[in-house]
Protein backbone atom coordinates (compact mmCIF):
# COMPACT_ATOMS: atom_id res chain seq x y z
CA UNK A 1 0.00 0.00 0.00
CA UNK A 2 1.38 3.37 -1.03
CA UNK A 3 -1.38 5.69 0.05
CA UNK A 4 -4.07 5.53 2.72
CA UNK A 5 -6.90 8.07 2.70
CA UNK A 6 -8.95 8.65 5.85
CA UNK A 7 -12.30 10.31 5.10
CA UNK A 8 -13.76 12.08 8.13
CA UNK A 9 -11.83 14.66 10.16
CA UNK A 10 -13.03 13.85 13.64
CA UNK A 11 -12.33 11.47 16.51
CA UNK A 12 -12.41 8.12 14.67
CA UNK A 13 -10.38 9.54 11.78
CA UNK A 14 -7.65 10.99 14.01
CA UNK A 15 -7.31 7.76 15.96
CA UNK A 16 -7.09 5.81 12.71
CA UNK A 17 -4.27 8.11 11.52
CA UNK A 18 -2.38 7.67 14.77
CA UNK A 19 -2.67 3.88 14.75
CA UNK A 20 -1.69 3.64 11.06
CA UNK A 21 1.59 5.42 11.82
CA UNK A 22 2.08 3.58 15.13
CA UNK A 23 1.98 0.33 13.15
CA UNK A 24 4.81 1.51 10.94
CA UNK A 25 3.00 2.47 7.73
CA UNK A 26 5.34 4.96 6.04
CA UNK A 27 3.48 5.73 2.82
CA UNK A 28 1.27 8.75 2.02
CA UNK A 29 -1.41 9.43 4.58
CA UNK A 30 -4.21 11.88 3.74
CA UNK A 31 -7.03 13.20 5.95
CA UNK A 32 -10.18 14.49 4.24
CA UNK A 33 -12.55 16.59 6.37
CA UNK A 34 -15.67 18.49 5.35
CA UNK A 35 -15.12 21.28 7.88
CA UNK A 36 -12.31 23.84 7.46
CA UNK A 37 -11.21 23.33 11.09
CA UNK A 38 -8.54 21.01 12.43
CA UNK A 39 -10.15 18.01 14.16
CA UNK A 40 -11.72 18.94 17.50
CA UNK A 41 -13.52 17.18 20.33
CA UNK A 42 -17.31 17.48 20.39
CA UNK A 43 -18.56 16.74 23.93
CA UNK A 44 -17.86 20.31 25.23
CA UNK A 45 -19.95 21.83 22.38
CA UNK A 46 -23.16 21.38 24.37
CA UNK A 47 -21.53 22.19 27.72
CA UNK A 48 -18.42 24.32 28.54
CA UNK A 49 -17.88 25.64 25.01
CA UNK A 50 -21.56 26.49 24.65
CA UNK A 51 -21.57 28.31 27.99
CA UNK A 52 -18.26 30.17 27.65
CA UNK A 53 -17.60 30.37 23.90
CA UNK A 54 -15.25 28.50 21.59
CA UNK A 55 -11.55 28.17 22.46
CA UNK A 56 -9.99 26.22 19.53
CA UNK A 57 -6.90 25.34 21.57
CA UNK A 58 -9.04 23.76 24.30
CA UNK A 59 -11.05 21.76 21.79
CA UNK A 60 -8.18 20.54 19.57
CA UNK A 61 -7.93 16.74 19.38
CA UNK A 62 -4.23 17.07 18.51
CA UNK A 63 -1.89 20.06 18.53
CA UNK A 64 -1.72 21.83 15.12
CA UNK A 65 1.85 20.63 14.41
CA UNK A 66 0.99 16.97 15.18
CA UNK A 67 -0.29 16.44 11.62
CA UNK A 68 3.01 17.50 10.02
CA UNK A 69 4.97 15.45 12.58
CA UNK A 70 2.94 12.38 11.63
CA UNK A 71 3.33 13.10 7.92
CA UNK A 72 -0.39 13.62 7.40
CA UNK A 73 -1.56 15.64 4.38
CA UNK A 74 -4.67 17.64 5.30
CA UNK A 75 -7.51 18.14 2.83
CA UNK A 76 -9.90 20.11 5.01
CA UNK A 77 -12.94 22.15 4.00
CA UNK A 78 -14.15 19.73 1.34
CA UNK A 79 -16.50 16.83 1.89
CA UNK A 80 -16.11 13.56 0.02
CA UNK A 81 -18.99 13.41 -2.46
CA UNK A 82 -18.34 10.13 -4.22
CA UNK A 83 -16.31 6.94 -4.22
CA UNK A 84 -15.14 4.74 -7.08
CA UNK A 85 -13.95 1.48 -5.53
CA UNK A 86 -13.00 -0.09 -8.90
CA UNK A 87 -10.37 2.56 -9.69
CA UNK A 88 -9.84 3.34 -5.96
CA UNK A 89 -10.59 7.05 -6.14
CA UNK A 90 -12.35 9.38 -3.67
CA UNK A 91 -14.18 12.34 -5.26
CA UNK A 92 -14.34 15.61 -3.29
CA UNK A 93 -17.13 18.19 -3.52
CA UNK A 94 -14.88 20.63 -5.41
CA UNK A 95 -14.52 18.04 -8.16
CA UNK A 96 -10.95 17.00 -7.34
CA UNK A 97 -10.10 13.33 -6.92
CA UNK A 98 -7.80 11.45 -4.57
CA UNK A 99 -6.41 8.03 -5.42
CA UNK A 100 -6.01 5.52 -2.57
CA UNK A 101 -4.75 2.01 -1.95
CA UNK A 102 -6.39 1.79 1.48
CA UNK A 103 -9.44 3.75 2.67
CA UNK A 104 -10.87 4.43 6.13
CA UNK A 105 -14.51 5.59 6.15
CA UNK A 106 -15.02 7.72 9.26
CA UNK A 107 -17.61 10.26 8.11
CA UNK A 108 -19.60 10.03 11.33
CA UNK A 109 -23.20 11.13 11.43
CA UNK A 110 -25.05 14.20 10.30
CA UNK A 111 -27.84 16.16 11.90
CA UNK A 112 -31.33 14.93 11.20
CA UNK A 113 -33.50 17.86 10.06
CA UNK A 114 -37.28 17.56 10.10
CA UNK A 115 -38.97 18.78 6.89
CA UNK A 116 -40.69 21.62 8.78
CA UNK A 117 -37.33 23.35 9.34
CA UNK A 118 -36.88 23.89 5.58
CA UNK A 119 -36.58 27.62 4.91
CA UNK A 120 -36.54 28.51 8.63
CA UNK A 121 -33.27 30.44 8.94
CA UNK A 122 -33.67 30.89 12.71
CA UNK A 123 -33.58 27.11 13.36
CA UNK A 124 -30.18 26.16 14.76
CA UNK A 125 -28.32 22.84 14.88
CA UNK A 126 -25.79 21.64 17.42
CA UNK A 127 -23.40 19.28 15.71
CA UNK A 128 -20.21 21.14 14.81
CA UNK A 129 -18.12 23.93 16.30
CA UNK A 130 -19.71 26.57 14.02
CA UNK A 131 -23.16 25.51 15.25
CA UNK A 132 -22.00 25.86 18.87
CA UNK A 133 -20.57 29.33 18.15
CA UNK A 134 -23.86 30.47 16.63
CA UNK A 135 -25.96 29.10 19.49
CA UNK A 136 -23.56 30.60 22.06
CA UNK A 137 -23.88 34.01 20.37
CA UNK A 138 -27.67 33.75 20.46
CA UNK A 139 -27.53 33.38 24.27
CA UNK A 140 -25.96 36.84 24.63
CA UNK A 141 -29.26 38.70 24.83
CA UNK A 142 -30.96 36.20 27.09
CA UNK A 143 -34.62 35.58 26.32
CA UNK A 144 -36.38 32.32 25.59
CA UNK A 145 -34.64 29.25 24.13
CA UNK A 146 -36.90 26.56 22.69
CA UNK A 147 -35.28 23.16 22.22
CA UNK A 148 -37.04 20.70 19.94
CA UNK A 149 -35.89 17.22 20.96
CA UNK A 150 -35.35 15.91 24.50
CA UNK A 151 -32.41 13.65 23.67
CA UNK A 152 -28.91 13.93 25.12
CA UNK A 153 -27.79 16.97 23.09
CA UNK A 154 -31.09 18.81 23.60
CA UNK A 155 -31.10 18.26 27.37
CA UNK A 156 -27.42 19.20 27.75
CA UNK A 157 -28.01 22.40 25.78
CA UNK A 158 -31.10 23.14 27.90
CA UNK A 159 -29.08 22.75 31.12
CA UNK A 160 -26.30 24.98 29.79
CA UNK A 161 -28.71 27.69 28.64
CA UNK A 162 -30.56 27.60 31.95
CA UNK A 163 -27.28 28.10 33.81
CA UNK A 164 -26.63 31.08 31.55
CA UNK A 165 -29.94 32.52 32.77
CA UNK A 166 -32.15 31.95 29.74
CA UNK A 167 -35.77 30.86 29.94
CA UNK A 168 -35.80 27.37 28.46
CA UNK A 169 -38.57 25.17 27.07
CA UNK A 170 -37.94 21.67 25.72
CA UNK A 171 -40.50 19.96 23.47
CA UNK A 172 -40.58 16.26 22.58
CA UNK A 173 -43.18 13.75 21.49
CA UNK A 174 -41.63 11.11 23.81
CA UNK A 175 -43.07 10.75 27.35
CA UNK A 176 -39.80 11.60 29.18
CA UNK A 177 -36.42 13.13 28.36
CA UNK A 178 -33.92 10.64 26.92
CA UNK A 179 -36.48 7.87 27.41
CA UNK A 180 -35.99 6.40 23.92
CA UNK A 181 -32.47 5.43 24.88
CA UNK A 182 -32.76 4.84 28.61
CA UNK A 183 -36.42 4.13 29.41
CA UNK A 184 -38.93 6.04 31.55
CA UNK A 185 -37.29 5.50 34.97
CA UNK A 186 -34.10 7.36 34.13
CA UNK A 187 -36.05 9.87 32.04
CA UNK A 188 -38.30 10.72 34.99
CA UNK A 189 -35.27 11.30 37.24
CA UNK A 190 -33.82 13.80 34.75
CA UNK A 191 -37.20 15.45 34.16
CA UNK A 192 -37.29 16.24 37.89
CA UNK A 193 -33.75 17.71 37.83
CA UNK A 194 -34.59 19.97 34.89
CA UNK A 195 -37.85 21.14 36.42
CA UNK A 196 -36.05 21.87 39.71
CA UNK A 197 -33.72 24.14 37.72
CA UNK A 198 -36.65 25.93 36.11
CA UNK A 199 -36.67 24.35 32.65
CA UNK A 200 -40.13 23.83 31.21
CA UNK A 201 -40.23 20.32 29.70
CA UNK A 202 -43.22 19.62 27.43
CA UNK A 203 -43.16 15.89 26.78
CA UNK A 204 -45.73 13.87 24.83
CA UNK A 205 -46.04 17.04 22.76
CA UNK A 206 -45.24 17.45 19.09
CA UNK A 207 -44.34 20.45 16.97
CA UNK A 208 -47.01 21.21 14.37
CA UNK A 209 -45.19 24.00 12.56
CA UNK A 210 -42.55 26.72 12.64
CA UNK A 211 -42.84 30.33 11.46
CA UNK A 212 -40.16 32.97 11.37
CA UNK A 213 -41.14 36.27 12.97
CA UNK A 214 -38.20 38.64 12.53
CA UNK A 215 -35.32 37.19 14.52
CA UNK A 216 -37.80 35.20 16.59
CA UNK A 217 -39.58 31.95 15.74
CA UNK A 218 -43.15 30.95 16.50
CA UNK A 219 -43.30 27.27 17.44
CA UNK A 220 -46.82 25.85 17.07
CA UNK A 221 -47.42 22.77 19.21
CA UNK A 222 -49.76 19.86 18.54
CA UNK A 223 -51.75 20.72 21.69
CA UNK A 224 -52.69 24.10 20.16
CA UNK A 225 -50.27 26.25 22.14
CA UNK A 226 -47.69 28.52 20.47
CA UNK A 227 -44.25 29.28 21.91
CA UNK A 228 -42.27 32.35 20.89
CA UNK A 229 -38.57 31.54 20.74
CA UNK A 230 -35.77 34.11 20.81
CA UNK A 231 -33.51 31.18 19.96
CA UNK A 232 -34.56 27.84 18.48
CA UNK A 233 -32.47 24.67 18.66
CA UNK A 234 -33.56 21.60 16.70
CA UNK A 235 -31.87 18.52 18.16
CA UNK A 236 -33.77 15.48 16.97
CA UNK A 237 -30.86 13.11 16.51
CA UNK A 238 -28.42 12.17 13.82
CA UNK A 239 -28.09 9.67 11.01
CA UNK A 240 -25.07 7.89 9.53
CA UNK A 241 -23.33 10.04 6.91
CA UNK A 242 -23.31 7.54 4.04
CA UNK A 243 -24.90 9.42 1.12
CA UNK A 244 -21.49 9.91 -0.55
CA UNK A 245 -21.13 6.10 -0.80
CA UNK A 246 -24.17 5.55 -2.99
CA UNK A 247 -23.28 3.52 -6.09
CA UNK A 248 -19.77 2.80 -4.75
CA UNK A 249 -20.32 -0.88 -4.06
CA UNK A 250 -19.71 -0.39 -0.33
CA UNK A 251 -22.72 -2.08 1.32
CA UNK A 252 -24.82 0.39 3.32
CA UNK A 253 -27.98 0.04 5.45
CA UNK A 254 -28.33 2.35 8.45
CA UNK A 255 -24.56 2.75 8.42
CA UNK A 256 -21.75 1.08 6.53
CA UNK A 257 -22.26 -2.68 6.89
CA UNK A 258 -19.04 -4.10 8.31
CA UNK A 259 -17.56 -7.49 9.06
CA UNK A 260 -16.79 -8.09 12.76
CA UNK A 261 -13.25 -6.88 11.93
CA UNK A 262 -14.68 -3.51 10.65
CA UNK A 263 -13.73 -4.45 7.07
CA UNK A 264 -16.45 -3.37 4.63
CA UNK A 265 -17.87 -5.33 1.69
CA UNK A 266 -15.06 -3.94 -0.52
CA UNK A 267 -11.40 -5.00 -0.21
CA UNK A 268 -9.07 -2.26 1.02
CA UNK A 269 -11.92 -0.30 2.65
CA UNK A 270 -12.67 -0.24 6.40
CA UNK A 271 -15.06 1.86 8.50
CA UNK A 272 -15.05 3.24 12.05
CA UNK A 273 -17.05 5.38 14.45
CA UNK A 274 -20.67 6.58 14.22
CA UNK A 275 -20.91 5.46 10.58
CA UNK A 276 -19.97 1.79 11.14
CA UNK A 277 -22.52 -0.96 11.70
CA UNK A 278 -21.10 -4.28 12.85
CA UNK A 279 -22.00 -7.32 14.90
CA UNK A 280 -20.57 -6.95 18.39
CA UNK A 281 -19.36 -10.34 19.61
CA UNK A 282 -19.92 -9.34 23.26
CA UNK A 283 -23.70 -9.55 22.82
CA UNK A 284 -24.09 -10.90 19.27
CA UNK A 285 -26.09 -7.79 18.34
CA UNK A 286 -25.73 -5.75 15.15
CA UNK A 287 -25.16 -2.16 16.25
CA UNK A 288 -24.00 1.30 15.33
CA UNK A 289 -22.69 3.34 18.26
CA UNK A 290 -22.68 7.17 18.19
CA UNK A 291 -20.44 7.70 21.19
CA UNK A 292 -16.99 9.05 22.00
CA UNK A 293 -14.97 6.06 23.21
CA UNK A 294 -16.39 3.88 20.43
CA UNK A 295 -14.93 6.30 17.87
CA UNK A 296 -11.53 6.13 19.60
CA UNK A 297 -11.41 2.34 19.77
CA UNK A 298 -12.93 1.66 16.35
CA UNK A 299 -10.65 4.19 14.65
CA UNK A 300 -7.67 2.24 15.94
CA UNK A 301 -9.18 -1.15 15.27
CA UNK A 302 -10.17 -0.34 11.68
CA UNK A 303 -6.64 0.92 11.04
CA UNK A 304 -5.22 -2.40 12.27
CA UNK A 305 -7.63 -4.33 10.04
CA UNK A 306 -6.66 -2.24 7.02
CA UNK A 307 -3.01 -3.11 7.68
CA UNK A 308 -3.70 -6.84 7.81
CA UNK A 309 -4.93 -7.79 11.30
CA UNK A 310 -7.95 -10.10 11.41
CA UNK A 311 -9.38 -9.62 14.91
CA UNK A 312 -13.09 -8.99 15.56
CA UNK A 313 -13.97 -5.70 17.28
CA UNK A 314 -15.83 -6.38 20.52
CA UNK A 315 -16.79 -3.89 23.19
CA UNK A 316 -19.14 -3.02 26.00
CA UNK A 317 -20.31 0.40 24.72
CA UNK A 318 -19.95 3.32 27.07
CA UNK A 319 -21.17 6.92 27.03
CA UNK A 320 -21.84 9.82 29.34
CA UNK A 321 -23.94 12.95 29.61
CA UNK A 322 -23.46 15.82 32.08
CA UNK A 323 -26.43 18.03 33.02
CA UNK A 324 -26.14 20.45 35.95
CA UNK A 325 -24.37 18.42 38.66
CA UNK A 326 -25.73 15.12 37.36
CA UNK A 327 -23.06 13.05 35.65
CA UNK A 328 -24.70 10.11 33.95
CA UNK A 329 -22.53 7.22 32.80
CA UNK A 330 -24.03 4.35 30.82
CA UNK A 331 -22.49 1.00 29.89
CA UNK A 332 -23.90 -1.69 27.66
CA UNK A 333 -26.82 -1.23 25.31
CA UNK A 334 -29.96 -0.78 27.35
CA UNK A 335 -33.16 -0.66 25.33
CA UNK A 336 -36.68 0.24 26.40
CA UNK A 337 -37.62 -3.48 26.12
CA UNK A 338 -35.15 -4.52 28.83
CA UNK A 339 -36.17 -5.19 32.43
CA UNK A 340 -35.09 -2.31 34.63
CA UNK A 341 -34.16 -2.54 38.31
CA UNK A 342 -33.48 0.65 40.25
CA UNK A 343 -30.84 0.00 42.92
CA UNK A 344 -30.38 3.57 44.18
CA UNK A 345 -32.65 6.57 43.66
CA UNK A 346 -32.24 9.83 45.56
CA UNK A 347 -31.76 13.52 44.79
CA UNK A 348 -28.10 13.17 43.81
CA UNK A 349 -27.59 9.55 42.80
CA UNK A 350 -29.28 7.03 40.55
CA UNK A 351 -28.20 3.47 39.81
CA UNK A 352 -30.27 1.45 37.33
CA UNK A 353 -29.44 -1.94 35.86
CA UNK A 354 -30.98 -3.45 32.74
CA UNK A 355 -31.51 -7.14 32.06
CA UNK A 356 -32.22 -9.13 28.94
CA UNK A 357 -33.07 -12.83 29.11
CA UNK A 358 -31.88 -12.84 32.71
CA UNK A 359 -28.41 -11.46 31.97
CA UNK A 360 -27.14 -7.99 32.81
CA UNK A 361 -27.26 -5.99 29.54
CA UNK A 362 -26.64 -2.42 30.66
CA UNK A 363 -26.32 -0.02 33.56
CA UNK A 364 -26.88 3.66 34.18
CA UNK A 365 -25.16 5.39 37.07
CA UNK A 366 -25.63 9.05 37.94
CA UNK A 367 -22.87 10.39 40.21
CA UNK A 368 -21.70 6.85 40.96
CA UNK A 369 -18.60 6.17 38.82
CA UNK A 370 -17.20 3.37 40.98
CA UNK A 371 -20.39 1.33 40.74
CA UNK A 372 -20.30 1.78 36.98
CA UNK A 373 -16.79 0.35 36.70
CA UNK A 374 -17.95 -2.73 38.61
CA UNK A 375 -21.06 -3.11 36.48
CA UNK A 376 -19.13 -2.81 33.22
CA UNK A 377 -17.05 -5.80 34.18
CA UNK A 378 -20.18 -7.71 35.22
CA UNK A 379 -21.73 -7.06 31.78
CA UNK A 380 -18.59 -8.20 29.95
CA UNK A 381 -18.58 -11.40 32.01
CA UNK A 382 -22.25 -12.19 31.24
CA UNK A 383 -23.49 -11.92 34.83
CA UNK A 384 -27.08 -12.95 35.70
CA UNK A 385 -29.18 -10.01 36.96
CA UNK A 386 -29.96 -11.61 40.38
CA UNK A 387 -26.20 -11.78 41.08
CA UNK A 388 -26.12 -7.98 40.86
CA UNK A 389 -29.44 -6.97 42.39
CA UNK A 390 -29.39 -7.16 46.17
CA UNK A 391 -25.97 -8.80 46.21
CA UNK A 392 -24.07 -5.85 47.61
CA UNK A 393 -21.92 -5.86 44.47
CA UNK A 394 -22.81 -2.24 43.82
CA UNK A 395 -23.57 -1.07 47.33
CA UNK A 396 -23.80 2.74 47.36
Amino acid sequence: MKRIVVVGGSLAGVNALEEIRARGFDGDLVLVGSEPHLPYTRPPLSKEALADGIDPEQLALRAPDWYAEQGVTLRLGHAASGLDTRDRVVVLDDGTTLAYDGLVIATGSSQRRPAMTAGISTAMDLRGVDDAARLHASFRNGGHLVVVGAGFIGMEAAATARRRGLDVTVVDIAPYPMSRALGPEVGRWFLRRHEDHGVRVLCSTGVAGLEEAGHRTRVRLTDGRTLVADALLVAVGAEAATSWLSGSGVAVGDGVLCEPTLATSVPGVVAAGDVARWTNGTSGESMRVEHWTNAVEQGRHAAATLLGERRPFTSVPFFWTDQYDAKLRCVGRPTSEDDVEILTDNDTTLVAVYGRRGLLSGAVCVNAPRQLATLRRAIAEGTPVPDVVGSGLVAP
Binding site: N15, P43, W292, P369
Partner: protein
Amino acid sequence: MSVHVIFEPTKCQGYANCLIEAPEIWDFDEENNRAVLRLTEPDDALRSKAEASARCCPAQAIRLEERTP
Protein backbone atom coordinates in the same frame (compact mmCIF):
# COMPACT_ATOMS: atom_id res chain seq x y z
CA MET B 1 10.82 -1.77 29.81
CA SER B 2 7.99 -0.91 32.14
CA VAL B 3 5.08 1.40 31.64
CA HIS B 4 4.63 4.51 33.77
CA VAL B 5 1.33 6.36 33.97
CA ILE B 6 1.68 10.14 33.94
CA PHE B 7 -1.39 12.00 35.20
CA GLU B 8 -1.87 15.77 35.20
CA PRO B 9 -4.61 16.39 37.80
CA THR B 10 -4.99 20.05 36.77
CA LYS B 11 -6.17 18.91 33.32
CA CYS B 12 -8.65 16.39 34.75
CA GLN B 13 -12.27 17.38 34.13
CA GLY B 14 -13.86 14.57 36.07
CA TYR B 15 -15.13 12.46 33.17
CA ALA B 16 -14.14 9.27 35.06
CA ASN B 17 -13.50 7.45 31.76
CA CYS B 18 -10.13 6.25 33.13
CA LEU B 19 -11.84 4.56 36.06
CA ILE B 20 -14.32 2.87 33.72
CA GLU B 21 -11.51 1.60 31.47
CA ALA B 22 -9.08 0.54 34.20
CA PRO B 23 -10.53 0.33 37.73
CA GLU B 24 -7.36 -1.52 38.77
CA ILE B 25 -5.29 1.61 38.11
CA TRP B 26 -7.66 4.48 38.88
CA ASP B 27 -9.99 5.63 41.61
CA PHE B 28 -12.24 8.67 41.71
CA ASP B 29 -12.57 11.49 44.25
CA GLU B 30 -16.23 12.49 44.03
CA GLU B 31 -15.82 15.42 46.47
CA ASN B 32 -13.34 17.15 44.18
CA ASN B 33 -14.56 15.63 40.91
CA ARG B 34 -11.08 14.34 40.04
CA ALA B 35 -9.54 11.04 39.08
CA VAL B 36 -7.01 9.55 41.48
CA LEU B 37 -4.05 7.56 40.16
CA ARG B 38 -3.54 4.50 42.37
CA LEU B 39 -0.94 2.60 40.36
CA THR B 40 1.80 4.61 38.66
CA GLU B 41 3.67 1.49 37.49
CA PRO B 42 1.07 -1.11 36.52
CA ASP B 43 2.55 -4.49 35.66
CA ASP B 44 2.51 -5.88 32.14
CA ALA B 45 -0.83 -7.66 32.58
CA LEU B 46 -2.46 -4.22 32.94
CA ARG B 47 -0.62 -2.56 30.05
CA SER B 48 -3.52 -2.62 27.58
CA LYS B 49 -5.89 -1.27 30.23
CA ALA B 50 -3.43 1.53 31.04
CA GLU B 51 -3.29 2.38 27.33
CA ALA B 52 -7.09 2.39 27.08
CA SER B 53 -7.41 4.73 30.05
CA ALA B 54 -4.95 7.17 28.45
CA ARG B 55 -6.58 7.28 25.02
CA CYS B 56 -10.13 7.42 26.44
CA CYS B 57 -9.46 10.56 28.51
CA PRO B 58 -11.30 13.36 26.66
CA ALA B 59 -9.31 15.96 28.63
CA GLN B 60 -5.95 14.45 27.52
CA ALA B 61 -4.78 14.43 31.13
CA ILE B 62 -3.12 11.00 30.94
CA ARG B 63 -0.12 9.74 29.03
CA LEU B 64 2.18 6.73 29.28
CA GLU B 65 5.94 6.57 29.28
CA GLU B 66 8.10 3.51 28.69
CA ARG B 67 11.04 3.41 31.07
CA THR B 68 13.90 0.98 31.51
CA PRO B 69 14.34 0.13 35.17
